[in-house]
């Protein structure tokens, strides 16, 4: 019996007892506060106790900490005044970085965590967004449940259609007064951004050429509604076959 055995058994234990509902879990916003190390109040201890004993909260918490840790590393690289000397140890960027790198754990425990986390990853492609009118962070897009549903192209290819008929299409959203279609290459360069009132965007020759040159691209559609909200589709990746073959 050693620490590794204890850790593996503990991880397996919490993985096998993942809660079926999340009513007792801290909210996503609370997880963010905890991940920032900025949580206060009487519940902080019990919330953290829950997170480290909950197979559903833990991956979410780790994801948020990764984002938080990235910011800390950047802050360190750009700051010349950062001092680490303190009687009370603070979470320095280096310790944050150390904390998110993979830790030793027996294979079966990691596998259990992976299985539980895979759903979180898969969800990304299904989510949608809206701009909240009451958003306290200007310019930050908040999400909701009902987004835009893309029709084509999905995993199919544009080139399977006649070039004159190449288009992007999606389902209509109630109350939408216009739609914005965005296409990005895999490095994040915008290939196309067009506004339309239709649910089909026909590509002109130049636009189609840009997408074909990219070969692989991501596209999404935002629906702008009259009430000022914006709803968004998932980001969908399209891979075009090599036309030179």
């Amino acid at each position: 019996m050693n620490d590794d055995h204890l850790r593996a058994a503990y991880r397996a234990h919490i993985a096998s007892r993942a809660p079926l509902d999340r009513t007792s879990c801290p909210t996503a916003e609370r997880l963010e506060t905890l991940a920032r190390g900025a949580a206060g109040g009487d519940d902080r201890l019990s919330d953290l106790d829950h997170v480290f004993g909950c197979a559903r909260c833990l991956p979410e918490f780790e994801l948020l900490r990764a984002v938080e840790s990235s910011e800390a590393v950047t802050a360190r690289s750009t700051s010349t005044t950062l001092t680490a000397a303190s009687k009370t140890p603070t979470r320095t960027p280096s310790t944050r970085l150390r904390a998110i790198v993979p830790r030793s754990a027996p294979r079966f425990a990691l596998a259990a965590m992976l299985v539980l986390s895979i759903g979180l990853a898969g969800d990304y492609w299904r989510r949608s967004r809206m701009v909240s009118a009451g958003n306290t962070e200007p310019g930050v897009v908040r999400g909701d449940d009902s987004g835009v549903t893309l029709i084509a192209p999905g995993l199919a290819t544009l080139s399977s259609r006649a070039e004159a008929d190449a288009s992007l299409s999606w389902h209509a959203v109630d109350g939408a007064e216009s739609y914005v279609a965005d296409v990005l290459d895999t490095s994040g360069v915008s290939l196309l951004s067009r506004t339309t009132t239709d649910t089909v965007l026909r590509l002109d020759r130049d636009e189609l050429q840009r997408l074909q040159n990219a070969g692989i691209f991501d596209w999404m559609v935002s629906a702008r509604r009259m009430d000022g909200n914006e709803r968004r589709s998932t980001v969908t990746r399209v891979r075009l076959p090599d036309r030179r073959r």
């Binding site: 058994a9 190390g37 938080e68 140890p89 898969g122 999400g143």
Partner: protein
């Protein structure tokens, strides 16, 4: 394309999240989608290249954090609507692995849980964090406690855990 400092921030973000992804099974394409989403959010909020160029890098992280929180919220809402379609079978499969090793680990896991439940909350938290793999400095930062306090709680908590497990029949190498 975002400005070079923002792209650099995004690249750094990608590296950090990939580290977590490797640990928790996030897929590369999902990470790509997250990063693309961050780019689009920034563009939507700042349509002109000039205004984007003036944004501080911290803005990217704030947007990324918002995107990540949205992801968590959305995930939970979907889970509420579709109870346990994806997860329950996985958990069930995991618990049906009838190997000796799994059975022993399961027994040990139960024993650890019982021992944790009997501890005061402060000890419980630090021992849980230790078992997940957190370092003391991380615990200090997240809990807002001094290193001395964390060290003391962890020492006593692990001692307590060990005593209870020993009492339950588990042995450590040095025990012979």
């Amino acid at each position: 394309m975002l400005s070079p400092p923002l792209e650099a921030a995004l690249t750094r973000l990608a590296r950090m999240i990939r580290a977590v992804g490797a640990r928790h099974g996030l897929l590369d394409q999902d990470l790509d989608a997250l990063l693309q989403d961050v780019r689009i959010r920034v563009w939507r909020a700042h349509p002109t290249g000039e205004s984007i160029a003036q944004l501080p890098t911290s803005y990217v992280y704030r947007v990324a954090m918002t995107a990540a929180v949205d992801l968590v919220r959305k995930r939970r809402r979907e889970h509420d609507r579709e109870p346990a379609i994806e997860e329950a079978p996985s958990a069930a499969l995991a618990s049906r692995v009838h190997t000796d090793e799994a059975a022993l680990a399961s027994d040990l896991g139960d024993a650890i849980a019982r021992a944790l439940a009997s501890m005061i909350e402060a000890r419980q938290v630090v021992v849980r964090m230790h078992l997940i793999g957190y370092e003391r400095s991380e615990m200090s930062a997240l809990l807002g406690w001094s290193d001395d306090k964390v060290r003391n709680l962890l020492y006593r908590g692990l001692q307590d855990l060990r005593e209870r497990l020993t009492h339950a029949g588990y042995r450590w190498p040095e025990d012979g």
